[in-house]
């Protein structure tokens, strides 16, 4: 197994001497989580207009992506690998952009159409918690 391993790898990584980078990443992840929690509490204790809630949720999503970057890049050491490996993992994950957009759009379209053609349903299920606006009027 050793010979197998040795012949495959062209460049061996020098093991890092200290653990400073690990602790720095730990602090970054903790701080990002605390900011997310702070925003969560802010939304819970304050009644914001819908668009501000959406804006804050957008910030939380971006912070989560930052956390994901630090976990994958530093803890999983993907950032230390060569470009070929980074790309073979990263490029297929781009499919998520379409995946998320298409399926959330689908759910939103279902809700909009049901509310449009079944006013009784809209009346009996609506509360201020979610946006019930007709967002696909251009398709009427």
């Amino acid at each position: 197994m050793e010979q197998h391993t040795a012949s495959e790898i062209t460049y061996h990584h020098e093991p890092s001497g200290d653990t400073r980078r690990i602790w720095r990443t730990t602090i970054i992840l903790s701080v990002l989580t605390l900011i997310e929690l702070g925003l969560g509490f802010l939304m819970y204790f304050t009644e914001f207009p819908h668009w501000i809630d959406l804006f804050l949720k957008g910030i939380i999503v971006i912070l989560t992506l930052a956390k994901a970057f630090y976990i994958v890049s530093i803890f999983m050491h993907l950032g230390d690998e060569i470009r070929n490996l980074i790309m073979t993992i990263f490029v297929p994950l781009m499919l998520f952009i379409w995946f998320i957009a298409a399926f959330l759009w689908d759910g939103n379209s279902y809700r909009t159409l049901k509310n449009r053609y079944d006013p009784y349903y809209k009346e009996t299920t609506s509360e201020k918690k979610t946006n019930t606006a007709d967002t696909t009027t251009h398709l009427k």
Partner: protein, 290 residues
């Protein structure tokens, strides 16, 4: 770490070496994790689709507001924050085990693997408590003009629209015996269901304090299936990660990796463990934060 120079770059795909500059098993672990990311992604996205298709969705701060030992105190986000930090810390101990492995430090590997296992078990315990709390909770719900008491399961959801005013009293008058027994039990845990069942409807109605009763309509049924399905699937990953880590701990302790000359297996187990943490970051986002 040496980056390839221009001359070398041409030869990456020429055969005889890994074009990714990693050992086969580690590359396959990366591909497995990528496919697993799509599995989790599909689950979370379908949750998003259903959520977007509903006019009403429960507020996570209302659903997840309990903390062990805190009784009925309203503590949104508190317990799940604890779970998140447990998983982050166990990810750190895992990366420290990998770091020790790079230096061939057997004692360090064993120590940090042990802490990682402790973190994993702590997380699973938290999840067990959370599930138990949600399934066995007693929430008054208005359905079909009657009151009922339900927990959060895959079949029913007690987190619908708030109900106020005379509708509650009207529903209480129409509620049958079994419903009254469950309602009375909310405030009278000292009495068994059998004791309450033996009482008359009028007595039971007298025991129910209608002003303190927090009544909601039933919420979207899909919530329970998604919540238990996704957090359960993640919990299963944590569980299998703990098993893998225990095996790695024993192998490191036995000196298997020392004889092999490298701690690559610890790195591969580490990749899996970090992935579990990574997935939790997104579960935390989708279910608890937004």
């Amino acid at each position: 770490m040496a980056q390839p120079v221009a001359v070398e770059r041409q030869k990456w795909w020429g055969g005889g070496r890994s074009p990714f500059n990693v050992e086969y098993g580690k590359l396959m672990m990366w591909y497995f994790l990528m496919s697993d990311a799509f599995t989790f992604g599909a689950f979370l996205i379908s949750y998003g689709t259903i959520r977007f298709s509903q006019n009403f969705w429960p507020d996570p701060n209302v659903v997840f507001n309990a903390f062990p030992g805190a009784g009925h105190a309203n503590l949104p986000l508190a317990f799940v924050s604890l779970m998140t930090f447990i998983l982050i810390i166990s990810s750190v101990t895992m990366v420290l085990a990998v770091h020790a492995g790079h230096h061939g430090d057997k004692k360090g590997v064993v120590k940090w693997m042990a802490w990682t296992i402790v973190g994993g078990l702590a997380f699973l315990s938290c999840q067990a408590w959370e599930w138990t709390h949600m399934i066995t909770a007693e929430h008054a719900v208005l359905t079909n003009g009657q009151l009922d008491v339900i927990g959060q399961t895959v079949r029913v959801n007690p987190w619908g629209v708030d109900v106020h005013g005379p509708a509650i009293a009207e529903a209480l008058a129409k509620t049958p015996h079994e419903g009254l027994v469950k309602l009375a039990h909310i405030d009278h845990h000292e009495m068994s269901f059998a004791q309450l069942g033996a009482m008359s409807d009028a007595q039971l109605r007298g025991m129910i304090n209608i002003n303190d009763l927090h009544v909601r309509e039933a919420g979207p049924v899909a919530f329970g299936g998604f919540f238990y399905g996704i957090t359960g699937f993640h919990g299963f990953h944590v569980f299998s990660g703990v098993i893998i880590n225990i095996i790695m701990l024993i192998m490191a302790q036995q000196g298997v990796f020392e004889r092999r000359g490298h701690y690559l297996m610890i790195e591969k187990a580490g990749l899996y463990w970090h992935f579990v943490d990574l997935v939790w970051v997104f579960v935390f986002l989708c279910f608890y934060l937004i």
